[in-house]
């Protein structure tokens, strides 16, 4: 009995002085941990050692859910800063993202950097928010948002890969230096020992920042919401429509570009972007749809992101128009 009390006291002492440590062996291993708590990223509301919250300048729209993002980098290591693309996280790192509506947690997606590459796993929370369990086949959860009930879709692991594909390799999408950099965030990562350096560089503006140029905000928005698939190495490479931040080809960006395999996604419109004519632009039509087979992105939303649509509309409207609207094939 005395020994038990002593052990408890000892434990309490440890937890008071040093935070819980992440189960690195689970990140590095090749099992599929059934519960989110198995990783020990959190102890209740407390973050474990070397787990840090972060945010992005412009985020992927996911049915108006709020997202809590965390990064874990193993002790003794740092992520490497890269000017273009995602930060280079060492093996053993994890990216953790919880999707919630107010206090109700729906799912937590983890990206684990294992020795053989990145692995993406979705965990779905129970009703009382005490545990999240692995659902590799995905799930649908009814959620009330903006006054209506939607069928929120937790992606299955294949859908994770559809967006996280880089020539069929799975990679993180969000934590790019240009989309993390808000002037202080990366410096803070360096201070926490998570990142090697934080030089100033290209920055994606907040898409809501009215002081930034419309084109930069819209391009940033498309980069974050579309370019993981619509790139030369992504799932939509065959479309020829590439919406990345650094894309320079006007046709690849969709300007005066006819569709290739849009089907009814064309909405009777002739080109992805008809400059100056948002209502004649397939890109906007598909962003504003919730119809499967029409809606873009194909996965991850069942609602229209009104603010994103408004921004892209404003951008297309601001482009100098061709003398004549593009005529659909008929």
């Amino acid at each position: 009995m005395i020994r038990a009390i002593a052990a408890a006291a000892c434990l309490a002492l440890v937890s008071a002085s040093a935070p819980q440590t992440v189960a690195l062996e689970l990140i590095m291993g090749d099992t599929l941990p059934p519960k989110l708590s198995d990783y020990r990223f959190f102890a209740g509301e407390t973050l474990s050692a070397r787990v840090a919250p972060y945010a992005l300048n412009t985020a992927l729209f996911s049915d108006y859910s709020e997202k809590d993002r965390f990064v874990f980098v193993p002790a003794g290591q740092t992520a490497r800063h890269t000017a273009d693309g995602v930060l280079d996280f060492p093996v053993g790192s994890a990216l953790i993202k919880t999707f919630r509506y107010g206090a109700r947690k729906i799912e937590t997606r983890v990206l684990l950097h294992r020795p053989a590459g990145w692995v993406a796993l979705p965990y779905v929370w129970n009703e009382d928010g005490s545990e999240a369990v692995l659902k590799r086949a995905g799930a649908r959860v009814d959620v009330a948002v903006q006054g209506k009930t939607i069928s929120y879709a937790v992606p299955n692991v294949n859908q994770c890969k559809e967006c996280h594909a880089d020539n069929a390799r799975l990679v993180p999408i969000g934590p790019k230096a240009r989309n993390l950099d808000d002037g202080a965030r990366l410096a803070n990562w360096v201070k926490l020992g998570l990142l090697d350096k934080a030089p100033s560089g290209d920055r994606v503006p907040l898409f809501t920042d009215a002081s930034a140029p419309v084109a930069a905000r819209a391009r940033g928005y498309l980069d974050v919401n579309c370019a993981h698939c619509h790139s030369r190495v992504g799932s939509a490479s065959n479309s020829g429509l590439y919406l990345g931040w650094t894309e320079t080809s006007q046709v690849a960006l969709g300007i005066d570009k006819p569709p290739v395999a849009a089907g009814r996604g064309s909405g009777g419109r002739a080109v992805a972007i008809d400059p100056g004519r948002p209502d004649a632009s397939i890109l906007l039509y598909r962003m504003a749809s919730t119809e499967p087979g029409v809606a873009m992105p194909e996965v991850g939303r069942s609602l229209v992101h009104a603010e994103g649509v408004a921004l892209v509309r404003q951008w297309i409207a601001s482009m100098p128009a061709n003398p004549m609207p593009a005529r659909p094939q008929s």
Binding site: R136, A137, S151, N238, K257, A262, P292, V294, Q329
Partner: protein, 406 residues
Amino acid sequence: MNNACLSLAAASLLLHAPLAARTIDVAAGPGAQERLQGALIDAQPGDVVRLGPGRFELTDGLSLDVARVTVRGAGPGTGAGASVLSLKGQRAAGEGLLVTSDDVVLRDFAVEDARGDAIKSKGADRIVYHNLRVTWTGGPKESNGAYGIYPVSSEDVLIDRVTVSGASDAGIYVGQSKRIIVRNSTASQNVAGIEIENSFEADVYANTVKHNTGGVLVFDLPDLPQLGGHAVRIFDNTIVDNDTPNFAPKGNIVASVPMGVGVMVMANRNVHVFRNRLANNATTNVMVVAYKRPFTDKNYNPLPRDVVVRDNVHGRAGWAPGFAGGKELAAAMGGTLTPVFWDGAGGRAATNVQVRDKVGVVSLGLAQPLTPMTEAKPTPVKLSGGKPIVEPKRVVLPASMEAAIK
């Protein structure tokens, strides 16, 4: 070893243990979505995911990303013994079934009413589609999905004994791929029956292609990762009665296909159309044309080049050409357009289009690809000569693919 270690070892064993191929049975009925998607995720290379008979009422698109998996149903028919994936209740995803891994075999099941494309495979080398039925049960409608069978960006594609109807773009569409066989299949009531686009080395033979808007299309389009479609052979097909009004959503390239085309070759190089039976196609049996839109892609050639049309059997054609000015054109030619026509764009030397069928052939005499059809100056032409064209060799796929359907 403590308990935690033991269970860890057991879990790791589960991930790696199955050296022998397994069969994972999935029955129709409640929870089909999660059970079937779960099986497609849990499958290991070499496994068979076996669909039981009955209807799988799905709520989302399915996907497969494990190599060397066979998805096999109890049959593609319409009776109780068949395995039918119904996407009527699909709430998300761009396709009914998406395959992104190599050496996959899909056989003996049906896919109905996909909201987008029915079965798509991307970057999936050596894929086999065999004995499948894909349909939209409401008949031809603009609101149907675009493609029925849709392999893209892949090497070695075999499509054998599939039936597709109702696609609002192409029933069978192969895009940006290399080494392709489409055979023994039936495409009806689609906008395009079979379409080979931006692809290299394709054999399309022994298919029945009827009651579509256009039968077989061989296209090359600009601004895509794989350009310069070539080495395509269309032979021994029955391509008749293509009489479904075009129901493609506007904006898509196939929306420009006039009703009643047998074979349409647009851009592309080294295309051979031979020994087909072509009849009852109101616009024409075979049309060879340039790509008719402005483009900026410097690597793109909009002209058809080195095209051979020979030894086909022609029935009635050309009595109601479906393109702008077609009616007037037919009237000027004495009521019908010839069973084979070429738009004339680019001229003979640059295109080397050769027609050796014993039927009338007309050049529309368009000066440039962008010259509108309404400015056609139709002239009967003899295209039987020209620079010799070496026909591509038969497409041979890896033996494992043919073995998979034995």
